[in-house]
């Protein structure tokens, strides 16, 4: 199934002929990715009448371009105004926003774009080469293994709440409890819904994200004239194209970080139902764990921005693999792609790579072309995007609140969801003012329901036997790695203190 070079270059030439659909798809993707509520999946649904009318290959290339660029677009508001465009970018503001506040928004955007594009290119090429092996990953990772992978992401709660562990745990566990609102996946029993039917399907993620990040931040920043800190305002006055080039350089200095976090994203992307949010949280946590300067994470540290951005773009190519090989979509957008292709009578499976290479390999080639195009199009815009930071808050705050609230209406068309966004906004605001990390709450809200789903499935399959959690070799290996990742930082700190004591 590995394509020879002549086939690849032939396809590349053919895909470049679709520039007329790739360019609008890319621009649209950046826009919808940057607005909370307007995910690639929603946009493809809205545009279904158009994509269904296209030839299957044309439709697929358009959807791939839109999907790919939306992932990159989601990082822009996450860095500039602390609002992740999608849940996949929820770990981006942890270091991206402090950089922006310090007047390094342009540099942060350049880092985000270069790491996203590099990660996208690396993982797409890796996906093309490794398709036969990567397609097996999903067969080996069942509920038990997924529970441990979720716990890797959840352990980030402890990592980001380094300043005050107890408050961090309270915030994260409170988020997990909120994530458990709704009917359970096995018995459909409603729990903690306050009697609202709208909550039976769990707490909607976009309103939670909008409330915890956008609304709460809006209420905090009104005490300043702009989002920038005082030092940030001084530093920003000296900006030209320098910060963009500095960002590009800084990303390539951390090339190892880009490669391994993007490959981590690729592997997580292959697992159906996992997705970019888990990948970016796990990548951030692991990056911090392996860092020699973990204390700098959360303060505007470059690897802390590279890790989630590389991982969530690595997921993009990964989600296509199970779709094309076994017909199981790796995420919501891939599921809609499946609907479009099935409508055209496309049969998924290994044969697809022989019978319709333009769709099978062409999807990955279109992704490569989109990433190259993105790199060329978006890097020059870093300087102009970063002007958002100097818009006076008296104008920015009302516009931000209005549009993000409406953004939380879009996915389900419930005004109720706008109310949820306000409630999360109040919780997020209180959390910010009193030293609780809103990202810890959000991690719980995002990963809580996923963790519970896998946990319930595992128990259901094993007929309630808890020892099933330790019944697989891969699972047990992951358990050991999880325990090590939790112990090592403590050991490092202990050794550091011991060394400092000896030196004294």
């Amino acid at each position: 199934m590995i394509p020879d070079l002549s086939l690849f270059f032939g396809l590349l030439g053919e895909i470049l002929g679709y520039w007329w659909i790739i360019i609008p798809g890319t621009i649209l993707g950046i826009v919808v990715g940057a607005i909370p509520g307007f995910s690639a999946a929603n946009t493809i649904i809205i545009l279904l009448p158009i994509t269904l009318a296209m030839e299957p290959a044309t439709g697929m290339i358009f959807m791939v371009a839109l999907y790919t660029s939306s992932r990159l677009g989601a990082g822009i508001p996450a860095i500039l105004v602390n609002i992740p465009g999608t849940a996949g970018a929820a770990a981006t503001p942890l270091d991206g926003y402090p950089m922006a506040k310090a007047g390094r928004g342009q540099q942060a955007l350049a880092i985000s774009f270069v790491s996203s594009v590099s990660a996208g290119l690396i993982t797409t090429i890796a996906a093309i080469i490794l398709i036969p092996w990567l397609s097996q990953v999903a067969f080996h990772l069942h509920s038990v293994e997924m529970i441990v992978i979720m716990l890797f992401g959840i352990s980030l709660i402890a990592t980001i709440s380094a300043e005050d562990k107890i408050k961090g745990l309270i915030a994260g566990l409170f988020g997990l409890m909120i994530g458990y609102i709704g009917a359970d996946v096995v018995y459909e029993a409603p729990r903690g819904t306050f009697g609202f039917l709208e909550l039976y399907d769990k707490v909607p993620l976009i309103p939670a994200l909008v409330g915890l990040f956008a609304i709460s931040e809006a209420f905090v920043v009104i005490e300043r004239s702009t989002i920038l800190s005082k030092q940030g305002e001084i530093d920003r006055q000296h900006s030209g194209w320098g910060p963009t080039f500095e960002g590009i350089r800084a990303t390539f200095v951390h090339w190892k970080e880009v490669i391994w976090t993007s490959l981590l994203g690729l592997v997580i992307g292959v697992i159906p139902g996992a997705g970019a949010a888990i990948a970016s949280f796990v990548a951030y946590q692991q990056s911090r764990l392996m860092s020699k300067t973990p204390e700098l994470y959360g303060t505007g540290h470059i690897p802390g921005l590279i890790a989630p951005e590389s991982a969530n773009n690595g997921v993009t190519s990964g989600t296509l693999i199970p779709l094309l090989i076994i017909g199981v979509p790796g995420g919501a957008t891939a599921a809609i792609m499946a609907v479009v292709l099935e409508y055209h009578g496309v049969n998924f499976g290994p044969d697809l790579f022989e019978t319709q290479p333009l769709i099978a390999y062409g999807s990955f080639t279109a992704m490569l072309v989109t990433y190259v195009l993105l790199g060329l199009m978006i890097l020059p815009l870093t300087r102009y995007f970063s002007h958002v930071m100097v818009v006076p808050t008296v104008y920015m705050v009302p516009v931000l609140i209005a549009f993000t609230l409406v953004g939380s209406f879009v996915p389900r068309a419930y005004v109720f969801d706008m109310g949820i966004a306000i409630i999360f906004g109040i919780i997020g605001y209180i959390a910010r003012r009193t030293g609780y990390h809103v990202a810890a709450i959000l991690i719980g809200v995002i990963l809580g329901p996923l963790l519970e789903n896998y946990f319930l499935r595992a128990l259901r399959i094993s007929q309630g036997d808890l020892s099933t959690l330790f019944s697989s070799n891969i699972g047990n290996t992951l358990w050991v790695l999880l325990v090590l990742s939790l112990i090592i930082p403590g050991l490092k700190r202990y050794r550091g203190k011991a060394r400092a004591g000896k030196a004294k």
Binding site: K167, I170, L173, M177, I178, D184, G192, V394, I422, E452
Partner: protein, 171 residues
């Protein structure tokens, strides 16, 4: 750790709001799962147990620090921590009321009219009445752009009202 006699003890009453909310939510949540099968209860019980332990740890730590005069528990000053000082207090409360009103009225009045009114009044609230010309420019332009991009071009499901229905007939 010896407390600094020069330093005023920090008021931790505002810090207790999130644990209090969490505690109330746990108690409510647990009452809703008494009838469901144990498999559906399991993970929530484990997490709520851990959350209760964390809250207990927070209480014990706070009590110890209060004894050490590092922290204090006072109603006085709590609002200042939460809402800020001076005109900021009124601005924050008014902005929250505006946001709630926005959500309340958007279903009936639609995106265009409600967004225009919210953005205009929001800008006036955060700046001053003298800024009405800029407020009008910004609110009108973002409402018009919002309508054309999201409702007219992308056919996005935004709340619709009188203006949207009228524009549908006109455009």
């Amino acid at each position: 750790m010896q407390p600094d006699p020069e330093q005023k003890p920090r008021n931790i009453l505002p810090d207790c709001i999130i644990p209090a909310l969490a505690l109330i939510f746990i108690l409510y949540y647990l009452t809703t799962i008494t009838e469901v099968p144990w498999i559906s209860q399991a993970s929530a019980i484990v997490v709520s147990g851990l959350l209760l332990l964390s809250i207990l740890a927070f209480i014990i730590r706070s009590a110890w620090r209060i004894r050490q005069h590092q922290e204090t528990l006072r109603i006085e000053g709590t609002l200042r921590v939460l809402l800020g000082e001076g005109p900021l207090v009124a601005k924050r409360i008014a902005l929250l009321i505006l946001a709630i009103a926005y959500v309340w009225f958007i279903d009936g009045l639609g995106f265009t009219l409600t967004t225009f009114l919210f953005v205009f009044s929001g800008i006036i609230l955060l700046s001053s009445r003298d800024n009405w010309k800029n407020a009008l420019k910004v609110s009108l332009s973002c409402t018009i752009i919002g309508y054309f991009v999201f409702i007219y071009l992308f056919k996005t499901r935004f709340p619709e009202g009188l203006i949207e229905h009228w524009l549908k007939g006109v455009l």
